[in-house]
């Protein structure tokens, strides 16, 4: 087991290294290098080459590429994520400031996913190949197929324009006004949640169908347990293991998924920060966003691998 853990951790670090090179390379390809951005922001007239050279030295752009990469990585590891070109704020402070908001959206969307996805998945598995199953399966595909922005537009039209139930945009901090906070995140989390619900219900369905075919379920039925007890206490628990993993894996993609929702609803979270950074070529922020999302996905994948390795010895032998 120790060898397995070590191998997985080293492998993840190696992929992280490749990811960082990719992101660093992207920074060299993107237009608007920091020098030009600073000059544009300061609105100075034409400047001589002296100033440009000074600025290049300041950003370390006059050094060889390998050195620039090493300096950047070292800084990132120490917590120096650079300074936003657009606002002049520390990128790390910006990130930490917005993290709780995106986290709230994530928790809300998981809640919606479970409320919608779990009953649908269980119902389809228990009434396999019935009209109910067909409805739920079709609904699940629809959940993952409807573009976030279109679902957003339709919901905003229905609940903010036609009937004024929810605010069309904006975010109210929970500490200021708890009810206002819940109202402001209700639609965004619902939209993210329906996407997750589609995936969740499909996984619950297939996982539960597999468990229901096992011997211990037959035993439970044979000893005269009521169907409700068989499903709830015997079948659900093992069926939930892969489901929990999926929920975990979803977090890695949530920051990416929150881009559109936060942009549409003007919620000042990580996604909106990333979109704005792309609009104004604020590369330090784009870089930090990409790295953090990739780190997240890698960390969760690693955790899942280790968990599976601990639960199932066969995984440790095969790669």
């Amino acid at each position: 087991m120790r060898v397995y853990v070590l191998r997985r951790v080293l492998y993840s670090l190696f992929i992280l290294f490749l990811v960082s090179i990719l992101i660093f390379a992207l920074g060299r390809v993107l237009p608007g290098d920091p020098v030009q951005a600073v000059l544009a922001a300061s609105r100075m007239g034409p400047v001589d080459s002296e100033v440009i050279r000074d600025l290049k030295t300041q950003f370390g752009l006059d050094r060889p590429l390998v050195m620039q990469y090493v300096i950047w990585v070292a800084g990132f590891v120490r917590g120096d994520w650079g300074v936003s070109i657009a606002t002049g704020e520390s990128v790390r402070a910006m990130f930490m400031h917005r993290l709780p908001i995106t986290l709230e959206l994530f928790l809300g969307s998981v809640l919606w996913s479970c409320i919608i996805g779990l009953p649908c998945g269980i119902a389809s598995a228990l009434k396999r190949n019935s009209w109910l199953d067909l409805t739920c399966t079709t609904g699940a595909i629809m959940g993952v197929s409807i573009p976030v922005f279109w679902e957003g537009i339709v919901l905003i039209y229905l609940f903010s324009v036609l009937v004024h139930v929810f605010p069309p945009s904006g975010y109210v901090p929970f500490a200021e006004d708890p009810l206002g906070n819940l109202m402001s995140v209700a639609m965004p989390t619902f939209i993210m949640g329906t996407q997750g619900a589609g995936l969740l219900s499909r996984f619950v369905r297939s996982s539960l169908l597999e468990v229901l075919g096992q011997d211990f379920i037959r035993t439970a039925r044979a000893k005269g347990l009521r169907e409700k007890a068989v499903i709830l206490t015997h079948a659900m628990r093992p069926a939930m293991i892969p489901v929990v993993t999926i929920t975990g894996l979803a977090w890695g993609y949530v920051v990416a998924g929150s881009f559109i929702v936060e942009y549409m609803f003007a919620i000042p979270g990580l996604g909106r920060m990333g979109v704005n950074a792309i609009f104004c070529n604020d590369f330090p922020v784009i870089q930090a966003t990409l790295i953090m999302v990739a780190l997240n996905i890698l960390a969760v994948n690693l955790a899942v691998d280790l968990l599976y390795g601990a639960l199932d010895p066969r995984v440790r032998v095969h790669r």
């Binding site: 190696f14 992929i15 490749l18 990811v19 990719l22 992207l26 390809v29 993107l30 237009p31 067909l134 399966t137 079709t138 595909i141 629809m142 993952v144 197929s145 409807i146 573009p147 976030v148 922005f149 279109w150 537009i153 339709v154 905003i156 039209y157 324009v161 890695g252 993609y253 920051v255 990416a256 998924g257 881009f259 559109i260 942009y263 990333g274 979109v275 792309i278 609009f279 070529n281 784009i286 966003t289 990409l290 999302v293 990739a294 996905i297 890698l298 994948n301």
Partner: protein, 285 residues
């Protein structure tokens, strides 16, 4: 391998897949016959009639510069479907080639290609797509390039896995014993036997790529006006949601239908082509 009629039969009995096929057929016809179907010129402005609701002359109303919305939605299918198809063809080609090489050659080739795949897979697709489009400058070509760069990984993974399953089979060994070259084995013997998962992945990728294209265009750095694409249409329409809801809801509905159609079909194809999931047992052959 089962005979195609077996898979066809399953597919036709699969109600969801059938719905997907009908929808795709309708969308392709719409794109192909756009000039015949569209009631007006999609770029003809009429500044006396802007943001109007549905009427007899404009079934879906007009946009912010008085262009006929229905015609723009019909013409939009051309750009959106063409971009989805182009990026899928390019990414499938790259992914299948890399997957073939990784699966057949193994060793260092497999190591290098799979590490590259893993690296791209843990990058968030939307953020990367936005960054690449921003780097290349907005426009149809940059969107297709950015999607291609991101979408090949799925193909590489699936083809590699399938090739590893079939490469040890007797007929491949026989071909090798007869002196067939590596290239010949890869393209003549391995590729035809891994087509089923490729077809499924292509179908699902089409839906995913259309979604990604629309999202990038919705954020305003994809397809640029006046070219009608559903995503860019939706972007402009969104700012007039209160006065002209159809302006954004109609193109959005088309995107949803297109993505849904490919996902429905992909789902059905998976059931039809994957013998393990088929309910009625193995077919003839």
């Amino acid at each position: 391998m089962r005979s195609p009629s077996g898979a066809w039969g399953t597919l036709l009995r699969h109600r969801i897949a059938l719905a997907g096929m009908v929808l795709i057929g309708a969308l392709v016809c719409m794109a192909a016959f756009a000039p015949l179907l569209a009631p007006c010129d999609p770029n003809e402005q009429d500044l006396y009639h802007v943001l109007e609701g549905p009427s007899k002359s404009h079934l879906l109303g007009t946009d912010d510069v008085g262009r006929d919305l229905l015609s723009r939605v019909i013409y939009g299918s051309r750009v959106t479907l063409a971009m989805g198809a182009a990026s899928t063809i390019f990414s499938a080609t790259i992914g299948v080639l890399l997957g073939l090489v990784a699966g057949y050659k193994g060793g260092v080739w497999d190591m290098a290609i799979m590490r590259l795949t893993d690296t791209f897979m843990c990058m968030p697709a939307l953020v990367m797509a936005l960054a690449i489009v921003a780097a290349l400058g907005p426009g149809v070509t940059s969107v297709v390039i950015s999607i291609t760069v991101l979408a090949w990984t799925g193909f590489a993974r699936i083809v590699r896995g399938q090739v590893m399953l079939v490469r040890e089979l007797a007929y491949v060994e026989a071909a090798r014993a007869l002196g067939a070259s590596g290239l010949r084995i890869m393209f003549r013997h391995l590729l035809p036997n891994v087509t089923a998962p490729i077809i499924v992945t292509v179908t699902l990728a089409l839906g995913g790529n259309i979604m990604l294209e629309s999202t990038v265009s919705f954020l305003g750095i994809g397809v640029q006006p006046p070219t009608p694409s559903w995503g860019s249409e939706l972007r402009v329409g969104y700012s007039y949601l209160e006065v002209a809801p159809l302006f954004s809801i109609a193109p959005g509905l088309m995107i949803t239908l297109a993505v849904l159609a490919f996902n429905f079909l992909g789902d059905g194809l998976r059931d039809a082509l994957d013998p393990r999931l088929r309910a009625e047992g193995p077919g003839p052959g």
